[in-house]
């Protein structure tokens, strides 16, 4: 169900924005292409708030930027309903993106200036919105004089003043503290429900499941590598929603399950030749395992995140790493230690390194490969670039650097090899020591 206020003839009419088969590819320096978004079909209907959720790096922001017209899809089409193009979209940024050298009022007026409105008219509209959004009295202030919450209010005012048909928001509350974010969310929802703004639809990119369930009429869940639409969840609870409501909790759990589900790799997703590792340092991994050991039962991932005040974005990679190394199992939004995980958590520092090494060499081909390459070299040394180059062909340069960083961290922790930052070389300590003592004999 679409929100009751907005339901009506419009709800079944042509969508405001239609995305068909949208792909976003990027070129990799070593030739070949990587995929950010794959085959996205999406309709934005009049009267709805749409939440886009997905793991970090899943291309949520790219999707939003394609809708905003900031970047073009590599393939596929974005169609706006007649009349929506033009001043039809506005964007609220996670970083606020305010011009530090302009006052609040000047920041709000920037879109009107671009439209070429006369100064009098500009001022009238700006002041009206400033008033509505609760910035009264701060017109002449500079952004640096404001708190984060007030700054984002300026961001909202700047968007709303151009009367956009579609309001796009890129994690608008995630740079704010919890209370401020809640306050701003409520104010925004109030404006929307009371129809004090002419906006016809809102798209919000977020990593907070609660925020999505609290605000949105529909949640779109993206998968990772490459991002496809994994699921769409309608949220039909009437506003104002209560977080304690069992239906609310159930929705949050459902979405959490969808987000943490490790998809069986579909046959057509074969442009990934190597298994990648989540960018997690060994320390964070040990921390998670110790924590789980204390809890000894199955633990709800969502609760865990809450407890640690970690976002899904931060928690998921650690969970993935634990799963990859066989220290934990995840099923339906719950995480549980395996026997190895339990052993690890109980072991001494030195024993841990051994367990970690065994697991990593067995289950992480990338690491096993590194150790093998080093073993084959007579001097036991290899340049870092070699491994980066190998990975670059399949995952692109940036990701390759990150992968090698992570693998080196794991390798150092498990004492599988050592790394010299100056010469940027990986080496086997045993071989190098042998060689250093050998010539003197």
């Amino acid at each position: 169900m679409i929100h009751p206020f907005r339901k009506g003839a419009n709800a079944i009419s042509e969508p405001l924005i239609t995305l068909r088969g949208v792909h976003k590819l990027y070129e990799m320096p070593g030739g070949g292409t990587g995929t950010v978004l794959e085959d996205i079909d999406l309709e934005v209907r009049e009267g709805e708030i749409l939440a886009v959720l997905g793991p970090s790096g899943s291309g949520k922001s790219t999707l939003l930027r394609i809708i905003a017209g900031l970047t073009q899809p590599s393939r596929g089409s974005v169609r706006y309903r007649a009349g929506v193009v033009g001043h039809g979209v506005a964007l609220v940024f996670q970083s606020f993106a305010l011009f530090p050298w302009m006052t609040v009022q000047e920041n709000v007026e920037i879109g009107l200036r671009a439209q070429g409105l006369a100064p009098k008219e500009r001022e009238r509209k700006a002041l009206q919105v400033i008033d509505m959004i609760g910035l009264d009295g701060f017109e002449g202030a500079y952004p640096k004089e404001l708190s984060g919450g007030m700054r984002q209010r300026v961001g909202f005012a700047r968007s709303l003043v151009v009367d956009p048909d579609v309001l796009l928001m890129d994690e608008p509350f995630s740079a704010l503290d919890v209370l401020t974010a809640e306050n701003l969310r409520r104010d925004l929802l109030d404006l929307w429900l009371e129809r004090r703004i002419p906006t016809k639809a809102v798209i919000i990119v977020t990593h907070s499941i609660e925020e999505a369930v609290y605000l949105a009429d529909r949640a779109v869940i993206l998968s990772r590598d490459p991002a496809r639409i994994a699921a769409q969840v309608p949220i039909t609870l009437p506003h104002w929603r209560e977080r304690e409501d069992p239906r609310f909790v159930q929705l949050v759990d459902q979405i959490y399950g969808l987000l943490t589900r490790r998809e069986a790799v579909p046959a057509h997703a074969s442009n990934r030749r190597v298994q990648t590792v989540p960018p997690v340092r060994s320390g964070a991994l040990s921390g998670l395992l110790e924590l789980l050991e204390d809890q000894d039962e199955k633990v709800d991932l969502y609760r865990l995140g809450e407890e640690l005040s970690l976002d899904v974005e931060d928690l998921l990679p650690i969970v993935e790493a634990a799963e990859l190394l066989g220290f934990a199992k995840v099923a339906e939004g719950d995480i549980e230690l395996t026997q190895e995980g339990r052993d690890f958590a109980e072991a001494s520092l030195l024993r841990r390194k051994e367990i970690f090494r065994d697991q990593a060499l067995n289950r992480c081909p990338g690491l096993e490969n590194m150790v093998r390459v080093l073993g084959q070299k007579s001097n036991g040394r290899m340049n870092r670039e070699f491994f980066v180059d190998v990975l670059e062909r399949s995952v692109g340069p940036e990701e390759a650097e990150r992968q090698v960083d992570t693998l080196i961290d794991w390798g150092r922790y498990g004492e599988m090899f050592a790394y010299d930052t100056e010469s940027r070389q990986l080496y086997l300590e045993s071989v190098v020591e042998e060689q250093e003592s050998a010539p003197t004999d």
């Binding site: 905003a68 970047t71 979209v89 970083s95 530090p100 050298w101 006052t103 920037i110 671009a114 700054r151």
Partner: protein
């Protein structure tokens, strides 16, 4: 964006003493400019026309200042236009950026005399040509690093602000005015200040030029000093030095300080810094009703109207790039034609220069290179300990920093003959003597960079060193030298660049009828200029440029990389 947003109380102020002050200053300025400007097309003057009366000094100082200011305005416009074109067009990135890199390495002073001849030829019998040559010389000393700074800012615009500008559909000119100029303001202003300070040297050189056996003089502090030296008038020399220092200090206080304080609004940080630079002059301007009214009634409406008229908003999702169309190809053709012409005329001039001569000039170049290296190393030898001492003591650095800046701005070439007199007394030839002459102007760059680097050492590192009893030599090796390394490299690069330029005036110096000449490519260029041998000038400059570029690539760039990776403090 308001340029002088007055505080709310000030808006209701009536005409007061501040306004009177501003009005008076504006009138004086206008009067001065008209008076000095009218002298710019006067008939040619020779040394006998320069009056050594101290009363004419302020007027000469004004003329010098006017020259440097005109050149600066050109430099600023050029920097923005060049940086913009380099950043926004494909051609720019491929052609303009490397070109700038080369232009930066060419010792501009080598061209000075040749350009004087060219411009003097345009206006025979009038000083207008000389004035142009002088302004051009100063321009070439100022413009390149300003252009680089603007280009760099263009390339590193904050992504979110760019996106906001696109989403809210700012036109190209609006984007320039509301986003790109403000984003680049702080770095552009800092670079402007450095360029401005550095160009006094070129001003002094360009007021007194010998080309093809003829001596050209422009009235100004530089020529006043030169004539005073010729006539051995010690009193006039002291007066000239004092006026020069006063001029530098005044420009700093009345112009740069307010501009720097004003530019703080363009900081990207979203938080307020505790100690922002302040300026008394800026406060007067901001409190003046006259300025505020001018800004609100005249400046702002005109500007906004112009921006609106110029900017048709681009279609969303499509930021058009300059240079795709006819403009780009026309620019490309022009550039190619210019290069071809330069290559052709260069080849023509160099015709008849044999391999032996090239080798000889190369040898001279290496001699000068050794001198430059010695000047930088000797400079570092005393400036590092002194700079570190000053930097570690907040009390001393409070007054020493501005002094070092003034010393760096002071045109050392004005003092060359005085130093040469000392050298003669000590019986040192110019082959060695040119080194202290080079140091005279360039060591200050190392000094204030070391000072700045030392002051930037985080106090927790200093405390950690103290707690663990790290003292003496160990402290130098493990804390101070690594921490100041990046600043030391920056100072060294600047000093070396300055020393190369200085070699052109430091390897040939006249004193009391003697002409002292050192073996070096600087002297080679100067002598070739004095005789009007164009081919030799070109050869000398080419050799020097090649050496400068080679040093940059082989020595400074690796050091920079090391500074950025290993010795980077953040």
């Amino acid at each position: 964006m308001s340029w002088f947003p007055a505080p709310a109380i000030a808006r209701r102020r009536t005409f007061g003493w501040v306004d009177l002050l501003v009005l008076l200053a504006v009138l004086l300025l206008l009067l001065g400019v008209v008076r000095l400007g009218s002298g710019m097309a006067a008939p040619l003057r020779t040394a006998s026309h320069i009056s050594l009366s101290p009363w004419s000094l302020p007027l000469y100082a004004g003329e010098s200042l006017l020259r440097i200011v005109i050149a600066f305005v050109f430099s600023l416009v050029f920097a923005v236009a060049y940086g913009y074109a380099a950043a926004k067009t494909n051609l720019g990135r491929r052609l303009l950026v490397p070109l700038l890199d080369i232009l930066q390495s060419v010792p501009v002073l080598g061209f000075l005399s040749a350009t004087v001849a060219f411009f003097a030829g345009l206006f025979p019998g009038s000083t207008a040509g000389l004035e142009m040559a002088s302004v051009f010389a100063i321009f070439t000393a100022q413009a390149w690093n300003m252009a680089f700074s603007f280009y760099h800012s263009e390339m590193t615009l904050p992504r979110d602000l760019q996106e906001a500008s696109t989403v809210y559909r700012l036109g190209r000119w609006q984007r320039l005015w509301y986003l790109e100029l403000p984003s680049s303001a702080i770095s552009l202003i800092l670079n402007s200040m450095m360029s401005f300070g550095g160009s006094w040297f070129f001003l002094a050189a360009s007021e007194n030029v010998t080309y093809a056996g003829r001596s050209y003089l422009l009235p100004g502090v530089g020529s006043y000093m030169a004539v005073a030296e010729q006539r051995g008038d010690a009193g006039a020399m002291v007066a000239a030095v004092l006026v020069m220092i006063l001029l530098i200090v005044l420009v700093d206080q009345i112009f740069w300080r307010p501009v720097i304080a004003w530019s703080q609004r363009f900081k990207m940080e979203q938080t307020r810094a505790a100690d922002e630079p302040t300026s008394f002059v800026l406060m007067i301007l901001q409190r003046s009703m006259l300025v505020e009214m001018l800004e609100r009634r005249v400046l702002r409406p005109t500007l906004e109207g112009a921006l609106r008229a110029l900017s048709r908003p681009p279609r969303p999702a499509q930021v058009r790039r300059l240079g795709r169309g006819a403009l780009g190809s026309a620019g490309g053709l022009l550039a190619v034609a210019l290069l071809a012409w330069a290559a052709f005329s260069g080849a023509h001039l160099l015709h008849g220069i044999g391999g032996a001569q090239v080798l000889h000039v190369l040898w001279l170049g290496i001699l000068t290179l050794l001198r430059v290296a010695a000047a930088v190393l000797l400079g570092a030898l005393w400036t590092v300990p002194v700079g570190v001492y000053i930097g570690l003591s907040p009390r001393v650095s409070g007054w020493a920093q501005p002094v070092a800046q003034i010393a760096a701005s002071f045109p050392a070439n004005m003092l060359f003959p005085v130093v040469v007199a000392l050298l003669l007394r000590m019986d040192t030839g110019l082959d060695i003597g040119a080194i202290p002459l080079m140091m005279l102007g360039t060591q200050w760059y190392i000094l204030f960079n070391v000072m700045a680097g030392t002051m930037a050492i985080p106090s927790d590192l200093k405390e950690a060193a103290r707690v663990f009893g790290v003292r003496g030599g160990l402290r130098w090796r493990q804390l101070i030298l690594p921490a100041i390394f990046p600043s030391l490299v920056t100072g060294g690069v600047t000093a070396a660049g300055g020393a190369w330029n200085a070699s052109i005036v430091a390897e040939v110096v006249g004193w009391g009828g003697h002409l002292l000449v050192a073996q070096g490519v600087g002297a080679y260029i100067t002598l070739a200029t004095a005789h009007g041998h164009f081919g030799d000038i070109l050869l000398g400059i080419a050799v020097m440029s090649v050496l400068v570029v080679a040093m940059n690539r082989l020595v400074w760039r690796p050091l920079y990389r090391l500074a950025e990776t290993k010795y980077h403090l953040d």
